[in-house]
Symmetry: C2
Subunit: 699 residues, 2 copies
């Protein structure tokens, strides 16, 4: 489900490189680690990624399908053969596992039935697969409406406000909105809130088609029939729509979970369906009303209009059944030799809208190969000190559900054991590289990238990744749209997301192994590279005596984000004087985290520490990020418990850092700023005190 272009919101902050040994390690164990890393790199079987990718993407495998069960089985088998302990985590989720029936017709001026499926491409066997479905949006309402049309640009909150201001009434109309600008579910939410009777979402060629480059099969961009599928779920929590806060354990299992009545679930009621731009053109080109504002103009060859006029009517019918569907996460575990109860978790979802060659299974294939490489590393006697878990999540595409249910199920364990979550959704989708991360993990990514060679140049990944004028690569902030959400924003496990990206046929029937081989990476060299990067990060996190969080980055990043928030607030509230309590707390945190960082170094250099002492200290390190976890949660949804980060509740994909403040800013409200100053000051102070305690304990 990850939309790379939106996920990787780049932060412009850069800091000085450390060339010393990596933090958290004593001199001796760092020497060992360098040896392990070298052996690890040699163990990577460079043919393995391609083999797994081909196998995983043989058939379209939407959650609940037989083909998806086959993918689960294959994943479990590969990990088991590699020596991992594999556990399946089944859930019964409330979701539509099939598109049901749908129809789009132009009724007047003359009947025209619109095509809703990608065309068959001569020479592309995949495009003929009988298991491929027409384009659909999961969690559409069901209905059959005939109405005039309105074009609503990206269907964002501000777009519907613009329509209102321009005197265009959406009530009872079928809205056409283009993909982009927000999570598609919000297009449906705002269309419905404005009284629309239905919604057709199309891909505009200006955003993803011929305007960007050559189209499939000549190039990697959307052709006129390419359709973006995707979920519309927009609850104010993430995961199964009937079980917020609780795991949607099987209906027939021992433990009974209380579920919402489906009629109380936060679901859309209007019919919604996606189409390609070739078909959208047939409607848009017949519109006769007011001309759009300049920024709403798309790439089709005519001037776009806001309303269609009364000689143009369209019928939209969707009949989509929502019911309980069995989904299963498949998790492999390598038990840590010294600290088995400290978990390094890597993951990627397994379900796909079609074949899923880039999204998600390039990430899956990479993780399968990684489990084999780690297996052979263990065979050579190098068992990681902490446990490494590799999670293959189900039902991500329907609303990041499998991973969320697992986090809800394992909440207490994760609270005590979760060191880090690393997400690789579609992690090998091109030849570029991008990343987003929690503050304490940015350095981990940067340092690891210096060791990895980028395959198509003589450069390291670090050199390739960073821009010419940068000292080091930009790492963005985590937003919505993939499986890190529950780990990071609900449970407070520091998370990162990384991988290779590029142009791709996102959520379409064309995202196949053939497409991958022709346009994404014909030489299949990016998979092994991302595998090395992921493995290095996991091993560095697993083998250090003390968990190598980059502790002084908290204060650095907090200062920037509070300053940004204050600037935004002052734009609507000139009297606002800043978050003074929090500023003081950050000041203290900065000094203390610097002191702690130095002391940890001295402590590790001293060589005087027991296993038990380390265990105790690591438990405290794991607890640090929990300072930002608030029971009360956010005002836009209490499931979002992190004060530090959330997805944007008005767009779904974008990253909100300090979401408590961002929500007030979005509402242009000043009422709760004092309250937030106090809540943030408490959180930072709690983090500060934990660091103080650590300083005491390593004296």
């Amino acid at each position: 489900m990850k939309n790379i272009s939106i996920l990787f919101i780049i932060s412009c902050f850069t800091f000085q490189l450390s060339i010393a040994q990596y933090e958290g390690y004593s001199a001796d164990s760092w020497k060992d680690q360098l040896e392990i890393e070298e052996i690890f790199a040699k163990q990577i079987d460079k043919t393995s990624f391609k083999k797994h990718l081909k196998k995983l993407t043989e058939r379209p495998h939407v959650v609940g399908s037989a083909a998806n069960e086959e993918v689960q089985r294959y994943i479990g088998e590969v990990m088991q053969n590699a020596g991992l302990v594999v556990t399946n985590y089944p859930y019964d989720l409330y979701l539509p596992k099939e598109p049901g029936t749908s129809l789009i017709e132009i009724i007047t001026p003359s009947l025209e039935v619109l095509n809703q499926k990608e065309g068959v491409i001569p020479g592309d066997k995949f495009s003929e697969d009988p298991l491929l479905w027409k384009g659909w949006n999961a969690f559409s309402g069901s209905g059959d409406v005939t109405a005039e049309v309105v074009y609503a640009n990206y269907g964002r909150k501000e777009d519907f406000e613009t329509l209102k201001r321009l005197g265009v009434d959406v009530k009872g109309k079928i809205v056409l909105a283009r993909y982009g600008g927000n999570f598609r579910g919000f297009k449906a939410k705002f269309a419905e809130a404005n009284g629309a009777s239905g919604l057709i979402i199309f891909t505009d060629p200006k955003d993803s088609g011929f305007t960007k480059g050559l189209v499939y099969p000549e190039g990697p961009y959307y052709n006129s029939s390419t359709i973006q599928r995707g979920s519309l779920l927009t609850s104010d929590f993430t995961g199964d729509p009937l079980t917020p806060f609780e795991p949607a354990l099987p209906l027939d299992g021992k433990k009974k979970i209380k579920r919402l009545d489906p009629k109380d679930a936060q679901l859309h009621t209007i019919p919604v369906t996606p189409i390609g731009y070739g078909e959208a053109e047939k409607i848009l080109g017949k519109m006769e009303g007011k001309v759009v504002p300049q920024s709403w103009q798309g790439g089709l060859p005519f001037t776009y209009r806001l309303d269609g006029g009364n000689s143009l009517t369209v019928r939209l019918k969707v009949d989509q059944k929502i019911d309980f569907v069995r989904a299963t996460n498949v998790i492999g575990m390598i038990k840590g030799s010294e600290a088995p109860d400290e978990w390094i978790i890597l993951g990627c979802h397994l379900d796909a809208w079609g074949f899923g060659a880039t999204d998600p299974n390039s990430g899956t294939a990479m993780l399968l190969s990684l489990s084999e490489t780690l297996g052979s590393l263990i065979d050579k006697g190098y068992n990681p000190k902490r446990s490494i878990l590799i999670g293959h999540w189900d039902a991500e595409e329907h609303g990041v559900i499998g991973s969320s249910e697992w986090v809800e199920q394992m909440r207490d364990e994760l609270n005590a054991k979760g060191v880090v979550y690393m997400n690789f959704d579609g992690g090998v989708s091109g030849k570029n590289f991008g990343a987003s991360a929690a503050p304490t993990l940015k350095k981990l990514m940067v340092e690891a990238s210096k060791v990895v060679k980028y395959p198509y140049t003589d450069q390291s990944l670090f050199e390739f990744w960073k821009k010419d004028n940068q000292i080091e690569p930009s790492i963005g902030s985590l937003g919505g749209g993939s499986d890190h959400i529950a780990f990071y924003m609900h449970a407070g496990v520091p998370s990162l997301s990384g991988g290779a990206g590029g142009p791709n046929l996102y959520h379409s029937n064309y995202d196949s192994f053939r497409f991958y081989k022709q346009f994404v990476d014909p030489e299949f060299k990016m998979g092994p590279m991302v595998e090395q990067m992921a493995g290095l990060m996991a091993l560095r996190m697993a083998n250090a005596e003390l968990i190598p969080y980059n502790l002084n980055r908290y204060a650095v990043d907090l200062k920037i984000h509070f300053s940004n928030a204050e600037t935004k607030i002052k734009e609507y509230d000139q009297k606002f004087e800043g978050f003074k309590m929090t500023a003081d707390a950050i000041e203290s945190l900065e000094k203390t985290s610097d002191e702690l960082t130095s002391n940890i170094k001295l402590y590790l250099e001293s060589g005087k520490f027991s296993k038990k002492e380390l265990h105790n200290l690591n438990q405290q390190l794991i607890a640090l990020e929990k300072s930002f976890i608030s029971d009360q949660g956010m005002y836009f949804g209490s499931w979002f418990k992190s004060l530090y980060a959330s997805s944007d509740p008005f767009s779904g994909y974008a990253a909100w850092i300090l979401p408590g403040l961002e929500y007030e800013i979005a509402l242009k409200s000043s009422n709760r700023l004092q309250e937030w100053d106090s809540r943030y000051a408490n959180a930072v102070e709690s983090l500060h005190l934990k660091m103080k305690q650590l300083i005491e304990d390593i004296k």
Copy 2:
């Protein structure tokens, strides 16, 4: 010929408003002036603009045509009836007065003859006029070539460099370049320099067509057959290509002018012709080569390519005769009652590529109505103190020729008498307002705009013109593309250009009275508004005891422009230490100009001055701008004598402030920076000394 979007390059500088009486006036004469301005405004006949516009644009009137002679006759008659003394200034210019023959054919894969003329619009009689010609570019070479094609984006210097870098060979090919980004003549110059055999220039819908809004006849944007005509002349001077520095006086006249041999003139040799995007699509859509860089993609519905491949060949034939053509400027004069030898000059060209409703004759109609208003003002006994000249220039469209020849003819007189030149090319082309001006004239525009009411709101023009967050409107720097060039950049007469703009069918057959009435200003209220603005500025310049140049603006603007230039130079020359001599000179100038401004105020308040004294002081004021006139001129062309401003010799339209420096910057050269520091320091010091002398003389 003016291209408004490029001419009005906006400076972001703003300064504090003066609300005191206008500079240059004594208290008594300012009181008189306010009375005159009120009477003047009342004298404006609000029906006159429309009447003249309709008459001027009855037929297409390219220079040299009978219809253009009729326009000259009408202009002279109107001004004469208004009481002005009218003089015709004839020249024999070397130019093509007709398109000759031309042909564009797709030869392979299959023969297709492309249309080169705007379609007839049902209900638009103008579009059927038999005097309308097909699209053409004056000063094309003649030739008949068949070749493969290359797409060169805007055909700028950097675009051809990009093609080279991407391995696309232009040699022998027919280049397709889209309008925009530079003066079209440079597209031809660079295409020829890179070995192209021909050039087709098309309007892309992304730049001027359906992407911008509804197309003609439904809206004011280019439809698929709309063609931008225009000259390709790119000599390193402005005006008649055979007579740089000299007026191209009639061949049969008494005074014989030495002319270049046509074969030594700087003319293009390859055939060049323009087409609309409907026809361009037929070629571009068949191209099969490399995909363009993202920024080169236009608005046609496919991915643009750099080369066409060898299965696509195109024939381009142009046979265009260049010969001597009689052109005539028509100039009306109101003799000043007190200082007849101080000239306030207003102007607009009269020739057009078609009907010329917006470009240029909205400006012409406004000036005709203004001459009538000034006539009736004189009838009421209010003769301006200085002379007011209204110049209607011929042959502007072929290369800003008529006005340049006149400036060359009147050089000595202008040097002594030219107070200001105000250009109104297409000055009433829409409902927005924009302006560019020499530093000493910016305040004149701003202050006058406060007195003028903007017709479609309750605001003053000032309020309408400035943006919400501005203290006062932005005024740009004068670039190329219209009749101010010779006045300002060759002769050093402070100039401004202003007027109302908006979307229009630039240089096409559709720029008719019907188009104007339907889309530009159906109520014809903008003409009288611009007339009031122009008249106010002229009368304020004409009636002040001392010419009201805003003297302390020189130093303010120079500081900004030198700082900008230094920043640009330091980007390629880290050792560069700045223009220290000039900086010192500007420092002195700043103090002295402030002192002079205060002293002038005191002097005028004293009331003790004789006519003779004023005459002497005004002569000195006129001489100030000449400090920037260098005999040696610019390295890119010695005809450009102003050290202060020129058009960009690499693009034609853009404004170069401090062109001596801009040229070095464009070449990334450091060799002559010292020399320029000295030349600029001398110019500023000369201006400074003249101001010192003025301070002495008014003691």
